[in-house]
């Protein structure tokens, strides 16, 4: 998250949920760009390196941009 904080030039008072969602969108874009430039699926480390993040931050960011799971729609209805 430290990296993510620098990454979006934030003073720290921003909510994690928002910071991770923004990072998640960049992860998606970086993955697409690496697919084109490498001609194959990038590894998680390659995506992290391209963004100056750790693989852990990439994983947290991806989770934050995951479409709501079916479990949420089902269990609470």
């Amino acid at each position: 998250i430290g990296e993510i904080q620098r990454f979006i030039r934030d003073d720290g008072t921003i909510k994690v949920s928002r910071a991770l969602k923004e990072a998640g969108l960049r992860v998606r874009r970086a993955r697409d760009e690496l697919m084109k430039s490498l001609g194959r699926e990038p590894t998680i480390q390659e995506v992290a390196d391209a963004l100056g993040l750790t693989p852990d931050d990439v994983i947290l960011a991806q989770e934050a941009t995951r479409p709501p799971a079916s479990i949420h729609e089902t269990v609470y209805e």
Binding site: T43, I44, D56, I59, E63, A69, I71, H72, T74, V75
Partner: protein, 153 residues
Amino acid sequence: MARTNAMTLVFPARSGNESLARVAVAAFAAALDPTVEELDEIKTAVSEAVTNAIIHGYPDRDEPGEVVVRAWIDGDVLTVVVEDQGAGIADVAKAREPLYTTRPDLERSGMGFTIMENFMDDVEVESAPGRGTRVRMVRRIKSSAGAPSAPAH
């Protein structure tokens, strides 16, 4: 090959905790440097197994039981075991059939086991009614050069 690392995660069967399991297993598996796609598939399989434990294993929402997720790495092979001590499954073969669901009321698709089988190299299910369910999933990380940070043994 020797087991190079292992983890155990325990949490109550609450909706939302499948996300904790996904992140923990993904962070654990990241040591094998999988592709984003491989990691997505592993996370999806873990989600399906954990969601099953939460909604089918412990259908009584008021007293959530415990879900246990264990994972370990042998060389370039990841094994994930998802366990509950809940309702159990009477006929595992039938439960694994595509589109089979006992909870159409929850808008379940009946595709959970099929997704796990498609995304993992091997899926074993052990279950006993009233005693619980254990799902063991194995996936070799093809993009991996083996666990690079593992000490020589």
